[in-house]
Symmetry: C2
Subunit: 418 residues, 2 copies
């Protein structure tokens, strides 16, 4: 079907309605600073879920909840034997989260359904809007729990057994809010799209409205411990020092260099660093710090890992200290599905929105779903690239544009019924 010449060439979502739904949902757990605190599997999460379910039912959807609490709102297709074309995200937030992270992807999906309803359009494949449980991981780890169980990244039993700081398990919390649904195998998905604020500064910097997400970066996280020799800063001459902070500082600079040499997509970050004994006139004897390396493909990530280990060994020898490197987390890179990525790119072009290729540096539910179904993501800018913050903000026009791209990309997969 050639959408440009079809009756849906002029089809657009209702940006004002989308914005209003975002603002309405943001009142549940809304904070004085304009953010949202709606932690996974709390009473506020229940209220948010109930509101979504009510809206989805009003839009004619049927509701299914799975055993980890993921909600699937389904708009029937003309051929319900086809796997659904799915979209979605999450509505749990960080403790000092914003209105858009996750919520936008869910309500953009609902807006697609409402738009199809208003236009009287039927699709061959069903449309589903997913609300994934506990993406943020603020109360229960692992993060991206609902989509992780769906994709088989870890088991349902493992997830249900996790406990929060008060000792409450995921299973208990799900039952308490009434979202412990039916078990059973995850259903097949024909295609999955997720619209999300970028949570970074790239689109804004390049003044583009749509980010066409190629892949999610793979991640390797490390704990590095540098052991030197504590000594008095005054009487210890430079040539007799074994300064753990000097060695650590050189490694921090190397972590940066390793990523800078692999721009634009590689990332290298030391976010946390602790010095012992951390006294002004004592040469540090020990420094512990984190290293976070990210890259779009595993070969590059492996290469960065080797560069990190080589830098630690070389600098440790130069500074006469020991440096221990322990990998503590590994997420493989996740490419998105080329024909869906192309569908996003084409939809943006057809709609006249500026776009650019992008990568997802952070984790998203789409990264897990992509393990079991064709998947792609649509990024829209957020103000100053700020997210996980109560001042998180996004422009209504950008949110509307991303939702129009989502509508088109989903329709191209679900196909309009004759």
């Amino acid at each position: 079907m050639d959408m440009q010449s079809s009756p849906i060439a002029a089809l657009r979502i209702d940006g004002a309605r989308l914005w209003q739904s975002l603002m309405d949902l943001a009142r549940i757990g809304g904070t004085p600073k304009g953010g949202v605190c709606r932690i996974a599997l709390t009473e506020l999460d229940r209220q948010g879920r109930d509101l979504f379910v009510q809206w989805a039912r009003e839009a004619g959807c049927s509701i299914r909840v799975d055993a980890i609490g993921n909600i699937f709102a389904r708009r029937a297709g003309t051929d319900d034997s086809l796997p659904p074309v799915m979209t979605g995200s999450h509505i749990d937030t960080q403790p000092t989260g914003g209105k858009f992270d996750g919520n936008y992807g869910v309500l953009a999906g609902l807006e697609v359904v409402r738009t199809l309803n208003a236009a009287g359009i039927h699709t061959r494949a069903p449309i589903e809007v997913a609300v994934w449980t506990n993406e943020e991981g603020s109360r229960f780890v692992p993060v991206m729990m609902g989509s992780g169980v769906f994709a088989g990244a870890f088991t349902l039993e493992h997830a249900l057994a996790q406990r929060d700081a008060q000792g409450v398990s995921v299973g208990e919390a799900l039952a308490a809010i009434g979202y412990a649904g039916e078990s059973g195998p995850a259903h097949a998905v024909g295609a999955y799209f997720e619209a999300h604020i970028e949570q970074g500064p790239v689109l804004e910097k390049h003044q583009r409205v749509i980010g066409v997400v190629q892949a999610a970066l793979g991640q390797r996280w490390y704990d590095v411990t540098v052991q030197g020799m504590e000594a008095h800063a005054g009487p210890t001459p430079m040539e007799l020092r074994r300064d753990a902070l000097l060695a650590a500082s050189r490694i921090v600079a190397e972590v940066n260099r390793i990523a800078v040499e692999r721009m634009p997509h590689a990332r290298g970050t030391v976010g946390s660093l602790e010095v012992f004994p951390n006294s002004r006139n004592v040469i540090p004897g020990r420094v512990k710090f984190s290293v976070d390396l990210r890259a779009p493909d595993d070969a590059q990530l492996q290469d960065m890992d080797a560069a990190l280990r080589a830098a630690c060994a070389r600098i440790a020898a130069e500074c006469q200290v020991q440096a221990e490197v322990e990998q503590v987390v590994y997420f493989p890179p996740q490419p998105f599905t080329p024909h869906l990525v192309q569908a996003v790119r084409a939809s943006a072009a057809e709609l006249g929105y500026s776009s650019m290729d992008a990568v997802s540096g952070a984790g998203h539910d789409a990264v897990y779903v992509a393990r079991v179904a064709p998947a792609a993501m649509i990024f829209v800018p957020c103000a100053d690239g700020i997210s996980h913050n109560e001042i998180e903000d996004a422009e209504p026009a950008h949110l509307e544009a991303g939702c129009n791209v989502l509508l088109r990309a989903m329709l191209a997969q679900a196909e309009i019924a004759a």
Copy 2:
């Protein structure tokens, strides 16, 4: 007088007696790990002072205590109109201090008196052994309080008004232990020597027994604050970062370079560093750290200050962050008195001890006394250069050697009476 041909050419202190006194004093506040915890102006400090006073009286000395609690044990000269030749140090310790830091200088002075008594030697000038109050500054600041008041570095009133963490003032604590002595102007000192463990690794490294201390390094201490931009480590590409820890790490490396380029005596140390928000996957928005620069003369210290400020400005610009440099402490370099330094060097040579020129990287009471009297220091090695630690250790033979040097250097100044 030619000491080589005089009867005192063979004069030696009693190393076993010195060692025994060190061990006896170390029992007051002795810790299970073999260290000493005898904090300034506590009941244990009083017990230590009382023991010293008892020993000094037994050695025929008269005792004077000044208003800041400094104790002066005086062995009369044949010409008491001459200013005394003084030695001394402190007997207060760090909370996890050792047996030798300070205590050695005091008991080496006492051993000189005992040796002169045993040999029946009278000196023209009086000999004094000083116990300076609160050198360590663990309970009350400023550090080197007693010698600081003596030298006019700050006033008696200022020192007496300082309070510990419990709100007890120095004046109250002095009165409570019975060491609030007479006020009055500091008395003139003909020459001051202080024997001390090196508290560093240089003598041990070079296998020398005596350090002939040329000067105490000047010190400039700074607080540096680097302000960047906190951001999510995943979605923020390298070229859009304003990473405060990357900038701080580069400055740490520069602090080291600035000192290494000015070896052997310059020192540059970052001992304390704190990262905000210090979270594994957040690019650090702010880093605060200390810088400690030391050099033997003011021109070099000034030059290092300029190099630090230039490095901070350059690195801040490169990393697109702000770096604020605030100097918080300044101790001027303190050269020791050439003819007394030469007396130490000559005494070591006459006694056949290996020696080397040295600098004092740390503060000592002698550094303040040198402001008002000719002064010099004698260093002896300590095991692995470790001090301010319960495992602080020194070899009896080295302590004996330092005390023999002290005896000779003092005799050369005080002159043996005909």
